[in-house]
């Protein structure tokens, strides 16, 4: 039992990162009603951005967060306006294929440019730990946890309290109605894609101090992020946050008791159980 608390705390810190990735995904789904297959590839791209920015200028990943969030917001906005929207012709299945195409281009581009070597950054505080109830939490993971909660909070307020947020919610609920009252629906779509991509950049900044980057790294997270989104309820913010934290804990605890090779099973057992007994996800009823 003395292992359970440290494992749960470790799971929470990992889960917070899952939650930030999932927040971006659920935002894009909630409004555009599409599953963004390029999400993992954009995460990988953001991790490389953090890595190269650090290598070139020595800038700390946490300090890079605002820069990269703005940069990736712009990237997301442009991808939606210039690629996804023109290709889709208003059909959801076309959007799906467009994001899949973007994913393939980014993945193979990264492989060609940067090879599949593993890259990490070494920070002076990487070994510092915070002691919580007798458990040692590495400082970068603790920072990541609170930053993730902060990001979720800011997004929540932005959606609930700002004009942009109201417009996003209006478009999500009733596309035609929103257009009738003068909301530029295409702009809102692109804003959502941009915000979702900015989330991925934020997750990358929080992740790299304790992790590595390879061209394949996105898949490790995007599968969990999809699971998180469905688990929490498609399009639900609280669902993404709680779902991410829950999956982090489940993964850590399952890894502890079932062994590292089998630990991932826990995630999908929970996933299947939730879908069986609550098909709309944990917070799905409210969002639907």
């Amino acid at each position: 039992m003395e292992l359970l608390l440290p494992a749960v705390l470790n799971g929470l810190t990992t889960g917070a990162i899952y939650a930030v990735v999932a927040l971006g995904l659920t935002l894009i789904y909630g409004v555009l009603h599409i599953v963004n297959f390029a999400h993992g590839s954009l995460l990988m791209l953001a991790l490389y951005a953090v890595y190269f920015l650090h290598a070139a200028t020595g800038i700390d990943p946490y300090a890079a967060l605002p820069i990269l969030a703005v940069g990736f917001f712009a990237l997301g906005y442009v991808i939606q306006r210039l690629v996804v929207q023109p290709v889709s012709h208003g059909k959801d299945q076309n959007i799906l294929m467009a994001t899949l195409g973007i994913a393939i281009v980014i993945d193979n581009g990264a492989l060609a440019l940067w090879s599949s070597n593993t890259r990490t950054i070494d920070l002076p505080y990487a070994f510092d730990v915070v002691e919580v109830l007798g458990a040692f939490i590495p400082l970068p993971k603790a920072i990541g946890f609170f930053a993730a909660l902060g990001i979720a909070g800011v997004l929540w307020i932005a959606i609930q309290r700002t004009d942009l947020g109201r417009a996003i919610r209006a478009v999500a609920k009733e596309r035609q109605g929103a257009r009738l009252v003068g909301i530029r629906v295409e702009h809102i779509y692109a804003m959502c894609f941009g915000l979702g991509t900015a989330c991925v950049a934020a997750a990358a900044c929080l992740l790299l101090p304790t992790f590595y980057v390879t061209p394949q790294v996105g898949y490790a997270f995007v599968l969990v992020a999809f699971t998180t989104v469905v688990l929490g309820g498609m399009g639900s913010f609280p669902g993404a946050l709680v779902g991410g934290l829950l999956l982090g804990v489940v993964e850590a605890v399952a890894g502890l008791y079932l062994g590292e090779s089998l630990g991932q099973i826990g995630i999908f057992v929970i996933f299947i159980l939730v879908l069986l007994f609550r098909p709309t996800g944990l917070f799905g009823a409210k969002a639907a």
């Binding site: 990992t14 599949s116 070994f127 040692f136 590495p138 850590a252 590292e260």
Partner: protein, 405 residues
Amino acid sequence: MTKTLNRRAVLAGATAVAGTIAAPAIVGAQQAPIRIGLLHPVTGALAREGSQCREGALLAIEHINAAGGIKSLGGARIEAVLADAQSRPEAGAAEVDKLHEAGVVAIQGPFASGIALATTQAAARHNLAHLVDVGVVDTIVTRGLSNTFRFGPGFGAITRAALDNLVRLNDGAGKPVQTVMVIHEDSAFGSGMARLMNEELPKRGFQVVETIGHPSPQRDFTNIALRVRQARPDLLIPSNYLNEFILMARTLQQQRISVKGIYAVLGGAASNIRFVREHNEAAQHIMDCNHWYDPRKPQSQAFAAGLAAKSIDLTYETMLNYANMQVLADALERAASRDRARVIEALASSTFNDHIMPYGPTKFENGQNTGAQAVNTQIIGQRIEVIFPAAFASATPVFPVPSRG
């Protein structure tokens, strides 16, 4: 009948003699290079190790060519044909076919055991000599493949040395270690090691309290560190590759795990100078039983100087690949032929002793060099010191290690 010696005859004779003397040099300059396939995983999870292997082999080729190439073949130079096994056995096997088409005389590589099992078999189809540089799994040389040679020690020999030296180390320090925990990566290499440790350690008076497997790559070692804390073993025996070894050592330090020793057997990082340099605190006093060269030999000094000049890290991957290329060059010299069967024969009858490893003359039995042995090292300060066998030792072991507190 008299024969007159006039000026014309003397000139003609002199030209003929000079031509005969100069001929080998001219032929040598015209000799086509001997192509050797260097097959290593230079991308993917094992990219770092594979690249180190390649550098070691290339340095040897450079030295051999600078010393006049293969003299029995008219001073032909060795030319490396580089191939990438992409850290995957099937990719490695596919590269063997390409190397065959490129006309190589022999193949050296491919670092990992799992890949070696596939590439040696693929090379056997083309009757291509395959020198296995590092892959330690014993089945590599027990499948009756006549083209396959391993100059370095196999699993059995290394673990035997590791276990004998562990007993020696523990007895010498007054038996502080009774319980052991094994942490291994879950492919052929790590799992085989874990199985063997579980069989052999109890026979030598150690109790294995827990054995933990993990995949490569492993994202997080926190759980494993927590289980170490719970099981409280006296000694940790890890068997994993570089990235995981570093991640593990760092997590153990972060979690303030204190044990009487970390005794790696073929540890991914414990004999890696980059690990010592970049993570010195986490690396302190970690012991390893691994491949290592004999630094006192004159060839070894040329080797180390060559690496230093190119700013390449001194690792066992570079050592073994350098030595393997030396063995291969000697075999080519004796074969005096590019014929694949002759090269295989020459390797099989090798008694080469001029290499950088602490082995003695080469003697292949069923493809395995019987004189090959591993040594024990320990990270002390900024250096990797040899602590066993006594004949090569450069330091006395620090054991049990000071507590991390």
